[in-house]
Structure formats: C-alpha cells, structure tokens
C-alpha cells in the first residue's frame, strides 16, 4: 500500500524532464556496441582475436561486455581463426574471430581459406580504415573484401551503421546454413563509432526462400531400390556426415543392408572405424580393402563427399564399374568431378533418414534376399581386408610413428579429440587411431594447412572442457604456430601437443624419396629448437621420449598433468606412409610397402 502512495511522487516529474532523463539513460548505441550485442544475440560466448587501431571501438565494447562474452587474446591472427575453427569443428557451432585491418586481415586469410575448403562455419570480423579513407592507401589499409572474395561463403563491407545488426544476424545464418562456410564482415572504424537507433533490414528476408531444396521422390525410390538389389555396393562417406550429424542415420541404413562403408579423411568418426562394416579410410593413404572395394563396386553411394583428387586418384578408373549415387547438399558439387547416375540434393541426415524410413517400410524378405546376395561380395571384401591391413611398425631402438599413435589410442582409451596439421603425422593419426564418433577428428583436409593443429586444439579444448583434446603435429607445422602456447598458458587451457619429431618435413621428404630419386631438397629440419626447453620457456611442461620403452610413461605423465604439455616425441627419421597411391594414378596401382 505504501508503494502505491509513492507513485504520484515519481510521476510528478515533468513530462519533458522525464523524456530528457530517458534519453540520457539510453543513448543510441554505437556501431561497436551493436556488433558485440549482435554476437551475444547469436549465441556467441567465445571470441578469438587480436586488437589493433581499426577495431579499438569494438575492443572497448568487448571490455564492457566481458561478463557476457569471453575474448581470447591470441598472439597471431592465424591462430585466432584456427582456434575459432577448432571450436566450430568440435561443436558444430559458428566460430568467431576478430582481427584488425590490413595485416590483421591478411594474417587471417590462411585460416579463412582452411575453413572454406573444409566447409566450417565461421564469422570473421575484420576492422577496416574509416570509410572516408577507403581507397587512399591509408595506414593498415587492405582491400579485405577483395582479398578474401574467393575464399568466403559470403562477405560484407559495412557501409552504413543502420545495416550492421541485420548483417551480423545474416552472417551467422549464412555461415551455418546449407553447406557451411566462413563469412567475413569488414567493418570500417567510423561505422563502429557511429550512433544508431534505427537499424534496417537488408536482403535478409528473401535470401533463403527460393533456395530450399526438396528431395526428389522418384530419385529417392530409385536409390532405395538400387541399394536393396546391388550385388557389390559400397558407401563412400565424407565430411557431410559429420556436418549434418548423420552418423545414426548412416548406421541404420548400412546395418539394415549390410553394406560396407569407407570414410574419407574428413568423414573419419562419422562411422566408427572399428565397426565390422567399416573398411577404413579411402584414398591416397587409405586401406587396400576400401580402395579395392570401390574399384570393384557396382554401386557407389557417395554421401557428403566431393570426389576429391586425394580420394579418386585417376578419375577415369575411379569406380569405373559402378553406378554412382551422389547425395550432397550443394547442387554445384553434383557432377562437378564425376558424373552421378542418380543424385539427391539434400544434407546427409535428411537423405539417409528418408532412405532408412523407406527401408523400414519396404518388403523385408527382399531386403534379406539382397543381404544374402551380397555374401560373395563380402568374401571378396574380407579377402582384401585380410591380405593388406595397416601394419603397425615396431622397433626396439627407436619409436615408430605408428606405434606412437597406437600408444596414444591406448592411453586415451580411444576417446580423445585428435587435432592435426597436414602431412605424415596426419596420415598416421588417421590410420592408427580408430575413431568412435563424429567431431573426434579435427584436421585440415582440403587446404592442408601446416600450423592448424595447435591453435585449433586450443579452440576445441575450450569448446569441450570435459574432453581430452590432443594435437598431433609435425616438427615443421609446430614451428608455424607455436606462439599460441602462451595463449593456452594465459587462459589455463590444458593444451596437449604431441610433436612427432622426425627432423624432416616428412611428407615432402617421402615424395622426394619415392618420386624424385631421393634428392632431399630443403626438407631437413634437424636444426630445430630444443622443444622441451621451448615449452619450459613458455611456462609449459616439456617432455621428451626417444626410446620405445619411454613412450607410455611419457604420454601418461603429460596427459595426466593439469596444464599445458608439449611432447617432443623423437620418431624414426625416414619412415614412410603406406599404402600410397601416387598422385593421379589408378587406385589399383597402390604401393603397399
């Protein structure tokens, strides 16, 4: 009752004064605030970045909103984008990086391209010189929009602060919808300072309406019929399974039909490697069984894959006896490399889900007849499987790289999220760590970026604090982004980095050995820093193993340590990745040893 009595007192303030009071209390927000609020609105909790002149207003707001959004200060912008990628790859959420204009933006380019090639959802915000100075060769000016044009899913140069809010919303939508990819928002400094309380909508409303694809029912029935009756079918599955979270649907379909599955490098984890139906990785360094099975198949069901050259080898002979069913979300990838006999334009989850439904409704005796008819196919497949499985090498005197991965698998119970660079270590990790689930394997597949692993592992560990995340990198790639160790130290991220140290740029050395008469041109990395001391200089734990008998102990000690650990694992110097299909050759020309 007393509170009611108080009301007249409040309303006795003159109306005009109240209005002034109102304006003072909530002035129009400036561009930078709109931007940061936009990030928060779109569910962003984590931003990786490095400030600079053009993004000072944004960083001022990052400081004001520090309780709602966590910013991680990297030491190089490439690290920011890779960390955001690691975050995105481990969760499927959109990763966010924030960098300044000019060199900040160009340093981010490698990360953006990496995300583009692997279809990873990112929003990268780049500062830009004030809009009045664009085109004048101003300090730290670069045409970021132009530079990133061929490596983005979409990009913006913000020209009017009123558009900013809609742009942020749309950028997140574009980054994660359909076939995901990186989106760049280039924001001039003056835009971030301008006040705005009348935001407007852009093209947002009619952006997606016309692009919705529906599955063609006739094609779907045809696919189901082919699947049931095929004598020698195989599923070739890729990153699309992981992106669409289609592992369960895939499992239902192939278990019903008893059809072998071979994942690509990007598809690893989308189907459990240790499953009976899994023939192991396909392609240049894939298993003998999967490559032979694809060669001899009469029906190749390609789901969420783009017929990458590292998988197909010589195109003319790739699956040359097979009818090809291509299931892909982006129509531009269908028929791009290899002509498909039947195609479904859909994400893997939708398409496989529908196929599973049709199978459940189909005549079950027909299905079991089909399974029976494939028994002879399985005899062949199992023959290939048994004749040349991946062979782990062991030695008494030195640590074999394959042995290292096997030991890592044992020590982590096969549950760790493995993050790699590109090269020999990547292939051994792919071959000898049987993955159990999607998003357990984070690697730079398409672009093949050295230096990806360490910062990406940092991002993944932040995204999945309850999982063990291990970066497996080479001694070459490690030295490209090792400055981010200090970022992990600063934020107490328990980063674990295993350097598979063979003193070489190993994959290049292998090609020189095999295809260039052992002329080891500029691949020797024997002059390297002492990685243990380097780790200690950063305040991290540094551990070294040189003998096979030390391996288990060192791995256990480091992985149990509650902080950053850098493992310098000295492995045999001139080990080669086998099998290998020489680039551009028929997959039957696989070199096994």
């Amino acid at each position: 009752m007393t509170s009611v009595a108080n009301i007249p007192a409040v309303s006795s303030v003159p109306a005009a004064a109240a209005q002034i009071l109102e304006t003072v209390k909530t002035p129009a927000p400036r561009g930078a605030e709109i931007l940061v609020r936009g990030l928060i609105k779109n569910g962003v909790e984590t931003v990786f970045g490095l400030p600079g002149g053009a993004v000072l207003h944004i960083y001022d707001e990052i400081w004001r909103f520090r309780d709602e959004i966590s910013h991680y200060l990297v030491r190089h912008e490439q690290g920011a984008v890779h960390a955001a990628e690691g975050y995105a790859r481990a969760t499927g959420k959109v990763g966010v990086a924030l960098v300044t204009s000019g060199p900040g933006a160009t340093n981010a380019v490698t990360g953006i391209a990496t995300a583009y090639m692997d279809s990873i959802p990112l929003v990268v915000i780049t500062g830009q010189v004030p809009s009045t100075m664009i085109g004048t060769d101003a300090f730290q000016e670069v045409d970021t929009f132009g530079v990133t044009l061929p490596i983005v899913k979409h990009s913006y140069l913000v020209k009017d602060v009123r558009d900013l809010e809609a742009i942020i919303d749309e950028a997140f939508q574009i980054a994660k919808s359909g076939k995901p990819g990186p989106v760049v928002i280039d924001v001039p400094k003056d835009i971030t300072a301008m006040l705005c309380d009348n935001p407007r909508k852009l093209h947002a409303e009619y952006l997606f309406e016309s692009k919705e694809e529906t599955i063609d029912e006739t094609a779907l029935n045809l696919v189901v019929e082919k699947l049931i009756n095929a004598r020698q079918p195989i599923f070739y599955v890729g990153g699309g399974i992981v992106t669409a979270d289609a592992a369960n649907e895939l499992m239902r379909v192939v278990e019903t039909l008893q059809i072998p599955v071979t994942p690509t490098l990007m598809g690893l984890g989308g189907f459990p490697t240790a499953h009976d139906l899994c023939l192991g990785m396909l392609g240049m360094h894939g298993t003998y069984a999967s490559n032979m099975a694809v060669s001899e198949s009469d029906l190749l069901v390609a789901v969420g894959v783009r017929f990458d050259d590292r998988v197909t080898g010589k195109l003319a002979t790739f699956a040359s006896n097979a009818e090809i069913v291509h299931i892909y979300i982006d129509p531009s990838n269908i028929g791009k490399v290899k002509k498909a006999h039947v195609s479904l334009i859909a994400d893997a989850k939708t398409a496989l889900g529908k196929i599973a439904e049709k199978l459940a409704a189909a005549d079950q005796t027909e299905i079991s007849d089909g399974v029976k008819n494939r028994e002879s196919w399985w005899l062949k497949v199992n023959d290939w499987r048994n004749s040349a499985p991946f062979a782990c090498e062991y030695s008494q005197t030195e640590i074999k790289p394959q042995h290292l991965i096997e030991e890592l698998y044992r020590v982590t119970n096969g549950d760790a999220i493995i993050v790699t660079d590109v090269g020999q270590h990547q292939m051994w990790a792919a071959q000898f760590y049987p993955f159990k689930r999607s998003r357990q394997w984070l690697t730079s597949g398409g672009l093949g970026t050295m230096g990806f692993g360490l910062p990406a592992a940092m991002g993944a560990q932040l995204a999945c604090p309850d999982s063990q995340v291990v970066a497996v990198v080479g001694d070459g790639g490690f030295q490209m982004t090792n400055q981010e160790i200090i970022t992990a130290i600063q934020y107490k991220i328990p980063l674990k980095v295993i350097i598979m140290n063979n003193g070489y740029l190993g994959m290049v050395r292998q090609w020189q050995e095999m295809f260039y008469d052992r002329a080891y041109s500029e691949v020797d990395l024997s002059i390297s820093p002492d990685f243990v001391k380097l780790a200690e200089a950063y305040g991290a734990q540094g551990l070294r193993a040189e003998k096979p008998e030390d391996l288990k102990r060192v791995l256990e000690e480091g992985l149990n340590f509650k902080g950053v650990t850098i493992f310098d694992i000295v492995v045999s110097k001139e080990e080669n990745v086998f099998p290998i299909i020489p680039a551009g050759q028929d997959t039957r020309n696989m070199i096994l040893k």
């Binding site: 132009g146 044009l149 979409h154 093209h203 129509p331 028929g335």
Partner: protein
C-alpha cells in the same frame, strides 16, 4: 570481352564454326550491391571460364540487377557455371537463356571512314539492308548504330570491312526468353544457316 581486332578479322570463321564453340547466354538476378558483380566475375576467373560479354542493369525492383553473361563451353561447363553462380548468397536466380527460345540483342557503334559520293551511297545501302542507323556524319566519316543478335552485328562489321573501320564498340548481349515456344524452329534454322 571480345577483342575488336580479333572479332573483325575472324568474324566469318566464328560464324562457320559456331556449332563447335557453343556459346551460351546466362541471365543472373543478383542484388544491386557493391561487390556482388565481382563475386560473379571471380567465380568465372577462378574456374578458368571465359566471359565473352557481360551486361548489367537494374530491374523493376531497384534492389536487384540483371546480369547477362555470354560465355562458351560444353554442356557440363555451362551446368557448372550455373550451379556455382546459384550458390552465391546474393544471387536469386540463374537461367541459361540459350536453353529455351529467346531473343538476344547486342548493340554496336561503328566509326567508319567514308568519302562523299558512291562510297557513302554503298554504306547507306548496307545501313538499309541491316536496318542500322546513321547517328553522326562528317565529310570523311560516319558513325553507325546497329542492334541485333551477335551474328548480325558480326556480319554487318564484316560487310563494312572493305571501307576503313576506325573503331567498334559493342555492348555485349542482353537476352530474354520468348513468350511462346515457336522460336525454336527459327533458332535452329539460323544456326544451320550459320553453319552452312
């Protein structure tokens, strides 16, 4: 863009081999925003597709522009181009105009040296035959304007060659689909004639 010199010297060769070259006209509805055109052009160059001509203008909705691109390639290349353009976030529609009956127009302005008298009379005859226009004239020169499909423009330029052509500027093609399907027969006859 078509190189003028090359167009002049080889226009008949282009005509006689047009079946092999397989020119296609693609019509793209794209947001009228800075950078969107370079995104489309970038798609072509990144994949090694050549642009013969490109034309852009506003549509009824000021937020959207229509971009007409003439390019060449086999069916698969064209399919790829169309799909790649369709991926762009700000592209609303991509059509291969040449796949169905259509009308195609290009305009050319031609600066030709011509003296008064019989020479000028001959030019005027050509102007009449091709239904071109004289848009400027001096004692020594004329500027002619012609519109039609690119074959007609090519032929006109070829016919003017005996005179001294100083400069040719061509707009590149714009195209629109026909209202009725009857054009097909005519288009085929045209191509057949060109091949013969």
């Amino acid at each position: 863009m078509m190189n003028d010199e090359k167009a002049l010297s080889s226009s008949f060769i282009v005509l006689s081999s047009s079946l092999k070259i397989m020119q296609h006209t693609i019509s793209i509805l794209v947001a009228n925003e800075p950078g969107e055109l370079s995104r489309i052009v970038g798609l072509f160059s990144a994949r090694g597709f050549n642009i013969e001509t490109i034309c852009v203008g506003k549509t009824l909705e000021p937020a959207w522009s229509r971009c007409t691109i003439v390019t060449e390639g086999d069916d698969r290349t064209i399919e790829q181009i169309i799909k790649q353009c369709g991926r762009l976030a700000r592209v609303r529609e991509v059509r291969a105009v040449t796949k169905s009956p259509h009308i195609e127009r290009e305009m050319a302005l031609i600066d030709v040296s011509v003296s008064a008298g019989r020479e000028r009379q001959e030019i005027m005859n050509l102007v009449q035959i091709f239904r071109a226009k004289v848009v400027d004239i001096s004692h020594e020169k004329m500027i002619l304007e012609l519109s039609g499909d690119w074959r007609k423009v090519d032929t006109f330029i070829e016919m003017l060659k005996p005179f001294q052509i100083n400069e040719v500027t061509r707009t590149g093609c714009v195209a629109i689909n026909r209202l009725s399907p009857f054009e097909t027969a005519e288009a085929e006859t045209q191509t057949a004639n060109a091949a013969a």
